[in-house]
Protein backbone atom coordinates (compact mmCIF):
# COMPACT_ATOMS: atom_id res chain seq x y z
CA UNK A 1 0.00 0.00 0.00
CA UNK A 2 1.28 3.45 -0.90
CA UNK A 3 2.19 5.62 2.07
CA UNK A 4 0.30 8.91 1.94
CA UNK A 5 1.35 12.29 3.33
CA UNK A 6 -0.74 14.02 5.98
CA UNK A 7 -2.31 16.30 3.38
CA UNK A 8 -3.58 13.34 1.33
CA UNK A 9 -5.58 11.72 4.13
CA UNK A 10 -9.32 11.73 4.66
CA UNK A 11 -10.26 13.56 7.87
CA UNK A 12 -11.20 11.26 10.73
CA UNK A 13 -8.87 8.36 9.86
CA UNK A 14 -11.84 6.67 8.21
CA UNK A 15 -11.54 3.83 5.73
CA UNK A 16 -14.09 2.97 3.08
CA UNK A 17 -14.77 -0.73 2.68
CA UNK A 18 -15.10 -0.58 -1.09
CA UNK A 19 -13.38 1.25 -3.92
CA UNK A 20 -16.68 2.20 -5.50
CA UNK A 21 -20.18 2.96 -4.32
CA UNK A 22 -22.40 -0.14 -4.28
CA UNK A 23 -25.63 -0.09 -6.23
CA UNK A 24 -27.31 -2.15 -3.54
CA UNK A 25 -26.80 -3.20 0.05
CA UNK A 26 -23.44 -4.98 0.33
CA UNK A 27 -25.14 -7.80 2.25
CA UNK A 28 -26.88 -8.82 -0.99
CA UNK A 29 -23.60 -9.20 -2.89
CA UNK A 30 -21.32 -12.22 -2.39
CA UNK A 31 -17.95 -11.32 -0.85
CA UNK A 32 -16.00 -12.40 -3.93
CA UNK A 33 -18.08 -9.98 -6.03
CA UNK A 34 -17.67 -6.96 -3.78
CA UNK A 35 -15.20 -4.24 -4.84
CA UNK A 36 -13.13 -4.45 -1.64
CA UNK A 37 -10.69 -1.61 -1.08
CA UNK A 38 -7.02 -2.38 -0.58
CA UNK A 39 -7.34 -1.19 3.01
CA UNK A 40 -10.18 -3.61 3.77
CA UNK A 41 -9.17 -6.52 5.98
CA UNK A 42 -10.70 -8.88 3.39
CA UNK A 43 -7.40 -8.77 1.55
CA UNK A 44 -5.22 -8.92 4.67
CA UNK A 45 -3.66 -12.28 5.69
CA UNK A 46 -3.75 -12.88 9.43
CA UNK A 47 -3.75 -16.69 9.35
CA UNK A 48 -0.36 -16.77 11.10
CA UNK A 49 -2.00 -15.56 14.34
CA UNK A 50 -3.34 -19.13 14.66
CA UNK A 51 -1.77 -21.97 16.66
CA UNK A 52 -4.61 -24.51 16.31
CA UNK A 53 -6.82 -24.68 13.23
CA UNK A 54 -10.34 -25.98 12.71
CA UNK A 55 -10.57 -28.78 10.15
CA UNK A 56 -13.89 -29.32 8.41
CA UNK A 57 -15.36 -32.74 7.64
CA UNK A 58 -17.95 -32.54 4.85
CA UNK A 59 -19.10 -36.14 5.37
CA UNK A 60 -20.49 -35.42 8.83
CA UNK A 61 -21.81 -31.85 8.38
CA UNK A 62 -25.59 -31.29 8.42
CA UNK A 63 -25.32 -27.63 7.21
CA UNK A 64 -27.01 -26.30 10.31
CA UNK A 65 -25.00 -23.06 9.96
CA UNK A 66 -24.27 -22.80 13.68
CA UNK A 67 -20.54 -22.33 12.99
CA UNK A 68 -21.30 -19.66 10.38
CA UNK A 69 -23.47 -17.73 12.81
CA UNK A 70 -21.12 -18.00 15.79
CA UNK A 71 -17.78 -17.38 14.05
CA UNK A 72 -16.63 -14.00 15.43
CA UNK A 73 -14.48 -13.24 12.40
CA UNK A 74 -16.70 -14.24 9.43
CA UNK A 75 -14.25 -17.04 8.62
CA UNK A 76 -16.75 -19.79 7.88
CA UNK A 77 -17.48 -19.91 4.16
CA UNK A 78 -21.00 -20.91 3.30
CA UNK A 79 -23.01 -20.49 0.09
CA UNK A 80 -26.77 -20.99 -0.23
CA UNK A 81 -26.79 -22.41 3.30
CA UNK A 82 -24.23 -25.09 2.37
CA UNK A 83 -20.96 -25.21 4.29
CA UNK A 84 -17.91 -24.95 2.07
CA UNK A 85 -15.06 -24.64 4.54
CA UNK A 86 -12.88 -22.37 6.62
CA UNK A 87 -11.27 -19.12 5.47
CA UNK A 88 -7.72 -19.84 6.72
CA UNK A 89 -6.57 -16.34 5.74
CA UNK A 90 -8.68 -14.81 8.52
CA UNK A 91 -9.47 -17.61 11.03
CA UNK A 92 -7.65 -16.97 14.35
CA UNK A 93 -8.26 -20.51 15.67
CA UNK A 94 -10.55 -19.56 18.54
CA UNK A 95 -12.41 -22.89 18.35
CA UNK A 96 -15.93 -21.50 18.76
CA UNK A 97 -17.08 -23.25 15.56
CA UNK A 98 -15.99 -26.59 17.02
CA UNK A 99 -17.65 -25.82 20.34
CA UNK A 100 -21.06 -25.10 18.73
CA UNK A 101 -20.98 -27.94 16.17
CA UNK A 102 -23.92 -30.25 17.14
CA UNK A 103 -23.05 -33.44 15.17
CA UNK A 104 -21.65 -36.62 16.70
CA UNK A 105 -18.78 -36.85 16.03
CA UNK A 106 -18.25 -33.16 15.36
CA UNK A 107 -17.88 -31.95 11.78
CA UNK A 108 -15.23 -29.43 12.84
CA UNK A 109 -12.26 -30.29 15.09
CA UNK A 110 -9.17 -28.42 16.14
CA UNK A 111 -5.74 -29.74 15.01
CA UNK A 112 -2.20 -28.47 15.31
CA UNK A 113 -1.55 -25.92 12.60
CA UNK A 114 1.16 -28.04 10.93
CA UNK A 115 -1.02 -31.18 10.57
CA UNK A 116 -2.19 -31.51 6.98
CA UNK A 117 -5.98 -31.52 6.58
CA UNK A 118 -5.97 -34.93 4.81
CA UNK A 119 -4.13 -36.50 7.73
CA UNK A 120 -6.46 -34.79 10.17
CA UNK A 121 -9.49 -36.21 8.38
CA UNK A 122 -7.89 -39.69 8.45
CA UNK A 123 -7.66 -39.63 12.25
CA UNK A 124 -11.24 -38.36 12.84
CA UNK A 125 -12.84 -39.93 15.98
CA UNK A 126 -15.74 -42.38 15.90
CA UNK A 127 -19.30 -41.64 17.02
CA UNK A 128 -19.60 -41.71 20.82
Amino acid sequence: MKYLGWDELLPGAILFSFDEEMEKDAAEVLPENRPYAETNSYTAYVGDWRVLKPVYNRDLCIDCQFCWIYCPDVSIISRDKKMIGVDYDHCKGCGICVEVCPTNPKSLLMFEEQVENEKALAQWPEKE
Binding site: P11, A13, L15
Partner: protein, 406 residues
Protein backbone atom coordinates in the same frame (compact mmCIF):
# COMPACT_ATOMS: atom_id res chain seq x y z
CA UNK B 1 -43.05 17.16 13.99
CA UNK B 2 -41.92 18.99 17.11
CA UNK B 3 -44.05 21.77 18.55
CA UNK B 4 -42.66 25.26 18.24
CA UNK B 5 -42.12 27.25 21.42
CA UNK B 6 -43.39 30.78 21.68
CA UNK B 7 -40.55 32.88 23.09
CA UNK B 8 -40.59 36.49 24.24
CA UNK B 9 -38.29 39.03 22.70
CA UNK B 10 -36.59 39.11 26.09
CA UNK B 11 -36.48 36.00 28.27
CA UNK B 12 -35.12 35.63 31.80
CA UNK B 13 -32.85 32.62 31.50
CA UNK B 14 -29.85 31.33 33.38
CA UNK B 15 -26.91 29.96 31.42
CA UNK B 16 -28.21 26.40 31.63
CA UNK B 17 -31.63 27.30 30.21
CA UNK B 18 -29.93 29.36 27.51
CA UNK B 19 -27.87 26.33 26.47
CA UNK B 20 -30.88 23.95 26.58
CA UNK B 21 -32.96 26.30 24.44
CA UNK B 22 -30.17 26.55 21.86
CA UNK B 23 -29.91 22.73 21.73
CA UNK B 24 -33.69 22.49 21.29
CA UNK B 25 -33.73 25.07 18.51
CA UNK B 26 -30.86 23.36 16.66
CA UNK B 27 -33.09 20.24 16.37
CA UNK B 28 -30.39 17.85 17.52
CA UNK B 29 -30.92 14.25 16.38
CA UNK B 30 -29.32 12.55 19.39
CA UNK B 31 -28.48 13.76 22.88
CA UNK B 32 -26.80 11.09 25.03
CA UNK B 33 -26.23 12.57 28.45
CA UNK B 34 -25.53 11.89 32.10
CA UNK B 35 -26.35 14.74 34.49
CA UNK B 36 -23.78 16.38 36.75
CA UNK B 37 -23.84 19.59 38.79
CA UNK B 38 -23.83 22.40 37.70
CA UNK B 39 -24.77 21.41 34.12
CA UNK B 40 -27.63 19.10 35.22
CA UNK B 41 -30.39 21.58 34.25
CA UNK B 42 -29.18 21.62 30.62
CA UNK B 43 -30.19 17.99 30.13
CA UNK B 44 -33.06 18.25 32.61
CA UNK B 45 -34.63 21.12 30.65
CA UNK B 46 -33.92 19.29 27.42
CA UNK B 47 -35.64 16.15 28.74
CA UNK B 48 -38.65 18.20 29.70
CA UNK B 49 -38.81 19.86 26.25
CA UNK B 50 -38.74 16.36 24.75
CA UNK B 51 -41.47 15.05 27.06
CA UNK B 52 -43.64 18.04 26.18
CA UNK B 53 -43.31 17.50 22.46
CA UNK B 54 -40.86 20.27 21.57
CA UNK B 55 -38.14 17.92 20.33
CA UNK B 56 -38.16 15.23 17.63
CA UNK B 57 -34.70 13.83 18.34
CA UNK B 58 -33.64 10.97 20.59
CA UNK B 59 -32.59 11.41 24.19
CA UNK B 60 -30.42 8.52 25.36
CA UNK B 61 -30.03 7.99 29.09
CA UNK B 62 -26.69 6.37 29.78
CA UNK B 63 -24.80 5.06 32.82
CA UNK B 64 -21.86 7.48 32.85
CA UNK B 65 -20.26 10.40 31.05
CA UNK B 66 -17.90 7.98 29.33
CA UNK B 67 -20.98 6.27 27.91
CA UNK B 68 -22.60 9.64 27.14
CA UNK B 69 -19.75 10.74 24.91
CA UNK B 70 -19.45 7.23 23.46
CA UNK B 71 -23.14 7.37 22.51
CA UNK B 72 -22.53 10.75 20.93
CA UNK B 73 -19.58 9.38 18.94
CA UNK B 74 -21.70 6.49 17.65
CA UNK B 75 -24.63 8.70 16.71
CA UNK B 76 -22.39 11.29 15.06
CA UNK B 77 -20.53 8.63 13.06
CA UNK B 78 -23.90 7.20 12.01
CA UNK B 79 -24.68 10.58 10.49
CA UNK B 80 -26.72 12.69 12.93
CA UNK B 81 -26.52 16.09 14.61
CA UNK B 82 -25.37 15.35 18.15
CA UNK B 83 -24.90 17.25 21.42
CA UNK B 84 -24.49 16.71 25.13
CA UNK B 85 -23.55 18.56 28.33
CA UNK B 86 -21.24 17.98 31.26
CA UNK B 87 -19.02 19.46 33.99
CA UNK B 88 -15.95 18.67 36.06
CA UNK B 89 -15.69 14.99 37.07
CA UNK B 90 -18.04 14.08 34.25
CA UNK B 91 -15.84 15.95 31.83
CA UNK B 92 -12.81 14.12 33.23
CA UNK B 93 -14.58 10.77 32.75
CA UNK B 94 -15.36 11.78 29.15
CA UNK B 95 -11.72 12.67 28.49
CA UNK B 96 -10.80 9.43 26.75
CA UNK B 97 -13.75 9.67 24.39
CA UNK B 98 -13.17 13.40 23.69
CA UNK B 99 -10.03 12.40 21.81
CA UNK B 100 -11.99 9.70 19.94
CA UNK B 101 -14.59 12.25 18.86
CA UNK B 102 -12.09 14.79 17.57
CA UNK B 103 -9.82 12.17 16.01
CA UNK B 104 -12.79 10.77 14.07
CA UNK B 105 -13.66 14.36 13.15
CA UNK B 106 -17.23 14.16 14.49
CA UNK B 107 -18.81 17.61 14.94
CA UNK B 108 -20.43 16.99 18.34
CA UNK B 109 -21.43 20.03 20.40
CA UNK B 110 -20.58 19.75 24.10
CA UNK B 111 -21.93 22.42 26.43
CA UNK B 112 -19.55 22.51 29.39
CA UNK B 113 -20.49 24.26 32.61
CA UNK B 114 -17.06 24.83 34.11
CA UNK B 115 -16.49 23.41 37.59
CA UNK B 116 -13.50 22.57 39.77
CA UNK B 117 -11.95 19.10 39.76
CA UNK B 118 -11.68 17.03 42.97
CA UNK B 119 -9.97 16.35 45.33
CA UNK B 120 -11.14 18.03 47.48
CA UNK B 121 -14.66 17.65 46.11
CA UNK B 122 -16.18 20.93 44.97
CA UNK B 123 -19.22 21.74 42.84
CA UNK B 124 -18.42 25.39 42.14
CA UNK B 125 -16.97 27.08 39.15
CA UNK B 126 -13.36 27.26 38.02
CA UNK B 127 -11.62 26.48 34.77
CA UNK B 128 -9.92 23.18 35.62
CA UNK B 129 -12.20 21.14 33.36
CA UNK B 130 -11.93 23.63 30.49
CA UNK B 131 -8.12 23.45 30.73
CA UNK B 132 -8.25 19.66 30.87
CA UNK B 133 -9.84 19.73 27.42
CA UNK B 134 -7.29 21.95 25.79
CA UNK B 135 -5.18 19.26 24.10
CA UNK B 136 -8.15 17.09 23.13
CA UNK B 137 -8.46 18.41 19.57
CA UNK B 138 -11.80 20.13 20.12
CA UNK B 139 -12.70 23.71 19.29
CA UNK B 140 -13.31 25.55 22.59
CA UNK B 141 -15.54 28.64 22.74
CA UNK B 142 -16.00 30.55 25.98
CA UNK B 143 -19.16 32.38 27.05
CA UNK B 144 -18.97 35.07 29.74
CA UNK B 145 -22.75 35.29 30.41
CA UNK B 146 -26.07 33.58 29.60
CA UNK B 147 -26.72 35.47 26.37
CA UNK B 148 -23.34 34.38 25.08
CA UNK B 149 -23.95 30.79 26.20
CA UNK B 150 -27.09 30.80 24.04
CA UNK B 151 -25.51 32.54 21.05
CA UNK B 152 -22.31 30.49 21.04
CA UNK B 153 -24.17 27.17 21.37
CA UNK B 154 -26.18 27.97 18.23
CA UNK B 155 -23.04 29.07 16.42
CA UNK B 156 -21.08 25.99 17.56
CA UNK B 157 -23.17 23.71 15.30
CA UNK B 158 -22.53 25.85 12.26
CA UNK B 159 -18.80 26.04 12.95
CA UNK B 160 -18.12 22.39 13.75
CA UNK B 161 -20.43 20.85 11.14
CA UNK B 162 -18.88 22.72 8.21
CA UNK B 163 -17.39 20.10 5.89
CA UNK B 164 -14.04 21.90 5.82
CA UNK B 165 -13.92 21.92 9.61
CA UNK B 166 -15.66 18.73 10.85
CA UNK B 167 -14.45 19.12 14.42
CA UNK B 168 -16.32 18.85 17.72
CA UNK B 169 -16.97 22.08 19.62
CA UNK B 170 -17.17 22.81 23.34
CA UNK B 171 -19.11 25.84 24.53
CA UNK B 172 -17.95 26.77 28.03
CA UNK B 173 -19.72 28.83 30.66
CA UNK B 174 -18.85 29.38 34.32
CA UNK B 175 -20.50 27.09 36.86
CA UNK B 176 -23.21 28.81 38.91
CA UNK B 177 -22.07 32.38 38.18
CA UNK B 178 -23.37 31.95 34.62
CA UNK B 179 -25.19 28.62 34.75
CA UNK B 180 -27.48 29.52 37.66
CA UNK B 181 -27.75 33.30 37.38
CA UNK B 182 -30.97 34.41 35.67
CA UNK B 183 -30.25 37.19 33.21
CA UNK B 184 -31.98 38.90 30.35
CA UNK B 185 -31.46 36.88 27.19
CA UNK B 186 -32.73 37.86 23.74
CA UNK B 187 -33.39 34.58 21.89
CA UNK B 188 -34.10 34.07 18.23
CA UNK B 189 -37.46 32.58 17.32
CA UNK B 190 -37.38 28.81 16.67
CA UNK B 191 -37.58 29.38 12.91
CA UNK B 192 -34.89 32.05 12.85
CA UNK B 193 -32.56 29.99 15.02
CA UNK B 194 -32.95 26.84 12.91
CA UNK B 195 -32.55 28.79 9.72
CA UNK B 196 -29.29 30.19 11.11
CA UNK B 197 -27.95 26.79 12.19
CA UNK B 198 -29.12 25.06 8.99
CA UNK B 199 -29.88 21.42 8.17
CA UNK B 200 -27.28 18.89 9.21
CA UNK B 201 -25.30 17.70 6.20
CA UNK B 202 -23.91 14.23 6.87
CA UNK B 203 -20.39 13.39 5.70
CA UNK B 204 -19.12 9.82 5.36
CA UNK B 205 -22.01 8.52 7.46
CA UNK B 206 -21.80 4.93 8.67
CA UNK B 207 -25.46 4.40 7.83
CA UNK B 208 -24.79 5.03 4.13
CA UNK B 209 -25.05 1.33 3.15
CA UNK B 210 -24.04 2.00 -0.43
CA UNK B 211 -20.69 3.26 0.81
CA UNK B 212 -19.80 1.46 4.05
CA UNK B 213 -17.10 3.12 6.14
CA UNK B 214 -14.98 2.16 9.12
CA UNK B 215 -14.60 4.61 12.02
CA UNK B 216 -12.05 4.06 14.76
CA UNK B 217 -9.29 2.33 12.81
CA UNK B 218 -6.00 1.34 14.37
CA UNK B 219 -2.88 3.04 13.07
CA UNK B 220 0.62 2.51 14.39
CA UNK B 221 3.90 4.33 13.78
CA UNK B 222 3.38 4.11 10.03
CA UNK B 223 0.13 6.16 9.83
CA UNK B 224 -0.77 7.68 13.20
CA UNK B 225 1.50 10.73 12.94
CA UNK B 226 0.03 11.81 9.59
CA UNK B 227 -3.56 11.59 10.88
CA UNK B 228 -2.75 13.63 13.99
CA UNK B 229 -0.88 16.17 11.87
CA UNK B 230 -3.86 16.45 9.52
CA UNK B 231 -6.15 17.18 12.46
CA UNK B 232 -3.77 19.76 13.93
CA UNK B 233 -3.31 21.43 10.55
CA UNK B 234 -7.07 21.72 10.12
CA UNK B 235 -7.41 23.19 13.62
CA UNK B 236 -4.68 25.71 12.87
CA UNK B 237 -5.82 26.75 9.39
CA UNK B 238 -9.52 26.02 8.85
CA UNK B 239 -11.15 27.11 12.10
CA UNK B 240 -10.33 30.81 12.45
CA UNK B 241 -11.82 31.80 9.10
CA UNK B 242 -14.96 29.75 9.69
CA UNK B 243 -15.45 31.15 13.20
CA UNK B 244 -15.13 34.69 11.84
CA UNK B 245 -17.60 33.93 9.05
CA UNK B 246 -20.16 32.54 11.52
CA UNK B 247 -19.61 35.42 13.96
CA UNK B 248 -20.24 37.87 11.10
CA UNK B 249 -23.38 36.05 9.96
CA UNK B 250 -24.65 36.06 13.52
CA UNK B 251 -23.97 39.77 13.92
CA UNK B 252 -25.90 40.42 10.73
CA UNK B 253 -28.87 38.51 12.08
CA UNK B 254 -28.86 39.72 15.69
CA UNK B 255 -26.62 42.78 15.93
CA UNK B 256 -24.52 40.93 18.48
CA UNK B 257 -20.91 40.91 17.29
CA UNK B 258 -18.46 38.36 18.61
CA UNK B 259 -14.71 38.35 18.05
CA UNK B 260 -12.11 35.60 18.24
CA UNK B 261 -10.37 37.75 20.83
CA UNK B 262 -12.58 40.27 22.61
CA UNK B 263 -11.03 43.62 23.48
CA UNK B 264 -12.27 46.23 25.95
CA UNK B 265 -10.77 49.75 26.10
CA UNK B 266 -7.69 48.43 24.32
CA UNK B 267 -7.32 51.31 21.84
CA UNK B 268 -5.12 53.27 24.25
CA UNK B 269 -4.62 50.80 27.09
CA UNK B 270 -1.17 50.65 28.69
CA UNK B 271 -1.97 47.75 31.02
CA UNK B 272 -4.27 44.82 30.36
CA UNK B 273 -5.83 41.84 32.09
CA UNK B 274 -6.22 38.67 30.02
CA UNK B 275 -8.95 36.46 31.43
CA UNK B 276 -11.69 33.96 30.63
CA UNK B 277 -15.29 33.49 31.74
CA UNK B 278 -17.27 35.74 34.02
CA UNK B 279 -14.05 37.35 35.29
CA UNK B 280 -13.90 39.21 31.99
CA UNK B 281 -16.98 41.26 32.90
CA UNK B 282 -15.59 42.05 36.37
CA UNK B 283 -12.27 43.10 34.83
CA UNK B 284 -14.06 45.29 32.28
CA UNK B 285 -15.97 47.10 35.00
CA UNK B 286 -12.79 47.65 36.99
CA UNK B 287 -10.80 48.76 33.90
CA UNK B 288 -13.30 51.57 33.49
CA UNK B 289 -12.93 52.49 37.17
CA UNK B 290 -9.12 52.51 36.93
CA UNK B 291 -9.27 55.12 34.22
CA UNK B 292 -10.74 57.53 36.77
CA UNK B 293 -7.60 56.90 38.81
CA UNK B 294 -5.42 57.70 35.82
CA UNK B 295 -4.48 54.11 34.91
CA UNK B 296 -5.09 53.32 31.25
CA UNK B 297 -6.50 49.84 31.80
CA UNK B 298 -7.98 47.43 29.28
CA UNK B 299 -9.17 43.83 29.03
CA UNK B 300 -8.40 41.12 26.49
CA UNK B 301 -10.47 37.93 26.48
CA UNK B 302 -9.97 34.95 24.17
CA UNK B 303 -13.43 33.97 22.92
CA UNK B 304 -11.75 31.04 21.22
CA UNK B 305 -9.51 29.13 23.63
CA UNK B 306 -8.68 26.32 21.16
CA UNK B 307 -7.37 26.67 18.57
CA UNK B 308 -5.34 29.32 20.38
CA UNK B 309 -5.56 32.67 18.53
CA UNK B 310 -1.83 33.59 18.45
CA UNK B 311 -2.14 36.31 15.84
CA UNK B 312 -5.20 37.94 17.38
CA UNK B 313 -3.64 37.93 20.87
CA UNK B 314 -0.42 39.38 19.49
CA UNK B 315 -2.39 42.15 17.81
CA UNK B 316 -4.63 42.87 20.82
CA UNK B 317 -1.57 43.29 23.07
CA UNK B 318 0.65 45.06 20.52
CA UNK B 319 0.72 48.36 22.39
CA UNK B 320 0.47 47.55 26.10
CA UNK B 321 3.34 47.81 28.59
CA UNK B 322 2.17 45.30 31.18
CA UNK B 323 -0.12 42.27 31.02
CA UNK B 324 -1.65 40.11 33.75
CA UNK B 325 -2.76 36.62 32.73
CA UNK B 326 -5.43 35.36 35.11
CA UNK B 327 -5.73 31.59 35.42
CA UNK B 328 -8.70 30.07 37.25
CA UNK B 329 -7.17 26.60 37.47
CA UNK B 330 -4.40 25.23 39.66
CA UNK B 331 -1.38 24.99 37.37
CA UNK B 332 0.05 22.25 39.62
CA UNK B 333 3.72 22.80 39.06
CA UNK B 334 3.98 25.35 36.28
CA UNK B 335 2.95 28.87 35.36
CA UNK B 336 -0.70 29.16 34.35
CA UNK B 337 -1.89 28.10 30.90
CA UNK B 338 -2.99 31.58 29.86
CA UNK B 339 0.40 32.95 30.97
CA UNK B 340 2.20 30.37 28.84
CA UNK B 341 0.02 30.92 25.75
CA UNK B 342 0.03 34.70 25.94
CA UNK B 343 3.77 34.86 26.58
CA UNK B 344 4.46 32.55 23.64
CA UNK B 345 2.19 34.69 21.44
CA UNK B 346 4.07 37.87 22.39
CA UNK B 347 7.59 36.44 22.18
CA UNK B 348 7.52 36.91 18.39
CA UNK B 349 5.92 40.34 18.69
CA UNK B 350 7.69 43.70 18.33
CA UNK B 351 6.08 44.62 21.64
CA UNK B 352 7.44 42.93 24.76
CA UNK B 353 5.31 43.93 27.73
CA UNK B 354 5.97 42.76 31.27
CA UNK B 355 3.79 39.66 31.72
CA UNK B 356 2.75 38.30 35.09
CA UNK B 357 0.49 35.47 36.17
CA UNK B 358 -2.29 35.42 38.77
CA UNK B 359 -3.99 32.28 40.05
CA UNK B 360 -7.44 33.08 41.42
CA UNK B 361 -10.95 31.86 42.09
CA UNK B 362 -10.29 28.14 42.53
CA UNK B 363 -13.35 26.13 43.55
CA UNK B 364 -15.64 29.13 43.11
CA UNK B 365 -13.68 31.52 45.38
CA UNK B 366 -14.95 35.04 44.72
CA UNK B 367 -12.92 37.29 42.45
CA UNK B 368 -13.78 40.78 43.64
CA UNK B 369 -13.52 44.31 42.30
CA UNK B 370 -10.78 44.93 44.86
CA UNK B 371 -8.78 41.98 43.56
CA UNK B 372 -8.99 43.33 40.01
CA UNK B 373 -8.07 46.85 41.20
CA UNK B 374 -5.00 45.52 43.01
CA UNK B 375 -3.89 43.67 39.87
CA UNK B 376 -4.27 46.76 37.69
CA UNK B 377 -2.25 48.80 40.22
CA UNK B 378 0.53 46.21 40.17
CA UNK B 379 0.44 46.25 36.37
CA UNK B 380 0.71 50.02 36.43
CA UNK B 381 3.85 49.74 38.58
CA UNK B 382 5.25 47.09 36.21
CA UNK B 383 4.55 49.33 33.23
CA UNK B 384 6.30 52.29 34.84
CA UNK B 385 9.34 50.23 35.90
CA UNK B 386 9.51 48.27 32.65
CA UNK B 387 10.11 45.08 34.63
CA UNK B 388 8.10 42.93 37.07
CA UNK B 389 7.74 44.61 40.47
CA UNK B 390 6.01 41.49 41.82
CA UNK B 391 6.80 37.79 41.61
CA UNK B 392 5.80 36.28 38.24
CA UNK B 393 3.09 34.09 39.69
CA UNK B 394 0.89 35.22 42.57
CA UNK B 395 -2.17 33.73 44.21
CA UNK B 396 -5.12 36.10 44.67
CA UNK B 397 -7.80 35.78 47.38
CA UNK B 398 -5.97 33.01 49.19
CA UNK B 399 -5.86 32.73 53.01
CA UNK B 400 -2.53 32.26 54.81
CA UNK B 401 0.89 33.72 54.00
CA UNK B 402 1.21 35.36 50.56
CA UNK B 403 1.88 32.60 48.00
CA UNK B 404 3.99 33.49 44.98
CA UNK B 405 6.74 32.08 42.78
CA UNK B 406 9.63 33.36 40.68
Amino acid sequence: MAEKMELNEMEVWDGNMAASQALRQAQVDVVAAYPITPSTPIVQNYGSFLANGYIDGEFVMVESEHAAMSGCVGAAAAGGRVATATSSQGFALMAEVLYQASGMRLPIVLTVVNRALAAPLNVNGDHSDMYLGRDSGWIQLDAFNSQQAYDLTLMAFRIGEDHNVRLPVMVHQDGFITSHTAENVRPLSDDEAYEFVGDYKPMNAMLDLAKPVTYGVQTEEDWHFEHKARQHADLMTKVFGKVEEVFDAFAEKTGRKYNIVEEYLMDDAEVAIVALGTTVETAEMVAKMMREEGIKAGVVAPRLFRPWPYEQIKKALSKVKAVACLDRSSPNGALGALYNEVTASLYQSDNHPVITNYIYGLGGRDFTIDHAKEIFKELDANAKEGRPTTPLQQFVGLRGPKLSFY
